[in-house]
C-alpha cells in the first residue's frame, strides 16, 4: 500500500546570529491514509519544524512533501493557499481569534471558501455538535477553558472537510482530563471522517493512547519508526529508551505517592 503523506529527504536550517542550525537533516516520512501517526522527540529535536514543513508554514531548504498525488513543495503561493484549506492544523496555544466569537472563528475558513451564509450557519452548527460545544456558540474564546478552546480549534480546522489534520502539541497545554477528552475527540474524527492525523507530541502517554504508528525524531533525523507497541516495548534509539525510562519512573512514583494517602 502506498503512503498518503510522504516526505522525501527534507532539510531545513535556521540562521540565528550568524550560526546555521540544521534542524531537519533528511527526513523521510511515510504515513498511510487514515492513520494516526505520532512524531515524538525531545524539545528542539525538530518535530515541530517537520510538521510545519508539511503545510509549508516553514519552507524546507530542500526535499519534497507529497499529500496524495499533490506535491506540496511544488505548489505556487495561490495553489498552496487553496490546498491548505484541505489540511487542517491545530496548535498548542490554540491560536483562536480573540476578536471573534466561537461561531465566527469556525466560520472564518468557510468564508475563505466564499460559502453561502446559510451553508456556513449549518456547517458551523454541525461542527459545534461534533466537538460538543453547541451551547458556547456565541461565546468569545476568552470565556472558554483550555480544553474548550482546543475543541474550537479542532472544529475550525475541520471546517472545510480536510483529509489531513496536523496536530502541533495540541494537548501539551491542557490538564490530563482535557487531554484525554481531546484525544478521544481526535480518535472519533479519525474514525468517523477518515482523517489522516499527524500528531506531534512529547507526551509518551498520548502516543500510547492514540497513535497506531510512531516515528522517533532525534537531532533532526528519524531514528526509529514503526508500530507504537513495538517501539516502546523494545526501543533501540536513545530518545525511545529515555522516554520509556521516564514513563516507568513516573509510574513508580505514582504508586508510592498513592500509598501515602492510605
Amino acid at each position: 500500500m502506498s503512503s498518503y503523506i510522504r516526505t522525501e529527504n527534507l532539510y531545513k536550517s535556521f540562521r540565528t546570529k550568524g550560526n546555521n542550525v540544521q534542524v531537519l537533516k533528511g527526513i523521510n516520512l511515510e504515513v498511510q491514509k487514515g492513520d494516526i501517526y505520532g512524531v515524538v522527540g525531545f524539545s528542539g529535536a525538530g518535530k515541530s519544524t517537520l510538521v510545519r514543513c508539511i503545510n509549508r508554514l516553514e519552507e524546507p531548504d530542500s526535499g519534497k512533501v507529497f499529500i496524495g498525488e499533490t506535491e506540496i513543495t511544488a505548489l505556487s503561493k495561490r495553489e498552496l493557499a487553496t490546498k491548505r484549506r484541505k489540511i487542517g492544523m491545530i496548535f498548542q496555544n490554540f491560536n483562536l481569534f480573540d476578536a471573534k466569537t466561537v461561531f465566527e472563528n469556525i466560520a472564518y475558513p468557510l468564508e475563505l471558501e466564499k460559502a453561502k451564509k446559510k451553508d456556513i450557519q449549518k456547517r458551523v452548527d454541525e461542527l459545534l455538535e461534533l466537538v460538543g460545544l453547541t451551547e458556547k456558540k456565541h461565546a468569545y474564546p476568552g470565556q472558554l477553558s483550555g480544553g474548550q478552546k482546543q475543541r474550537v480549534g479542532i472544529a475550525r480546522a475541520l471546517a472545510n472537510n480536510p483529509d489531513v489534520l496536523l496536530s502541533d502539541e495540541a494537548t501539551s497545554a491542557l490538564d490530563p482530563q482535557s487531554t484525554l477528552a481531546i484525544l478521544d475527540l481526535l480518535r472519533k474524527i479519525n474514525k468517523e471522517l477518515g482523517l489522516t492525523i499527524i500528531l506531534i507530541t512529547h507526551e509518551l502517554e498520548v502516543v500510547k493512547y492514540l497513535c497506531n504508528n510512531v516515528a522517533v525524531i532525534e537531532d533532526g533525523i528519524i531514528v526509529e519508526e514503526g508500530e507504537v507497541r513495538n517501539i516502546f516495548l523494545n526501543p533501540n534509539s536513545n530518545t525511545g529508551k529515555v522516554f520509556l525510562k521516564v514513563s516507568k519512573e513516573f509510574q513508580k512514583n505514582e504508586f508510592v505517592s498513592g500509598g501515602e494517602g492510605i
Partner: protein, 236 residues
Amino acid sequence: MSLRRYSLWEVVKHAFSKEVWDVLWPAIGDTLYMVIFTAVITLVLGIMLGIVLAVTGKEGITPVSWLHRGLGTIINCLRSLPQIIMIIITLPLARALLGKAYGVNACIIALAASCTPMFARLIEGALLELEKGKIEAAKSMGSTNLKIIFGIMLPEVIPAMIRAFTVALIAIISMTALAGNFGAGGVGDIAVRFGFNRFQHDMLIATVFSLIVMVQVVQTIGDVCSKLILKKRHLI
C-alpha cells in the same frame, strides 16, 4: 487681569468670567477644528503606513525589505523634525495647496505631517505585538495576506490601536497650541497673545483649564472604549 495687580484668587475667579470665555470659545472651536481634521488624516494615513511597516518587515507576512527600509527611513526623518520646524517647512506647501500660509487649514498640513509618522510607528508596534500563532493559524487555513490583515490582524489589535490613537490625539492637541504661533489661531494663540504678551493671566489660566479638560476627555474616552472592547472579548 494680571497677577501683578490683583490677587491670585481674583485672577482665578475672573478666568471663568464671561468676558474671558467670549474670547476663548471661538478659539476652542478653532482648536477642535484643527484637531479633528488632523486626527482624521492621521488616523487614515497612520493606519495604512503602520500596516505597510508591519507586514513588509523581516518578520512580517510578506517581507519587502526595500519598501520597509525606505518607508522606515522617511518616517524616521519626519519624526526627527521638532514640530516647530515642521510647521516652518510645510508653510510653502500650504501656500501652494491652499493659497495662503497661515490660518487653521494651513497648519493642519504641518500637524498631520508631524503626527502621522508617530501614529504609524505606534500602529506598527501594536501589530507586531500580535501573537505570531494567530497569523500562522490563518495561513494554515489558506487565508490570503489581504484577508489576514483586514480579517484577523486589525480586529485583533483594535484595543491597542485605540490606545495608540489616544496618545496621538493628545499629541495633536498639544501641537495645535504651538501652531497658534504661526497664525493658526486656537487656544495656544490666545495663551500667547493675551496670557504672555499682555500679562492677562486670567486668560492664561482659562486656556490651561480648557486644554486640561480636552486632554482628560480624550484620555477617558480612549480608556473606556478600549476597556469596553476587552471586556466584551472577556480578555480582562
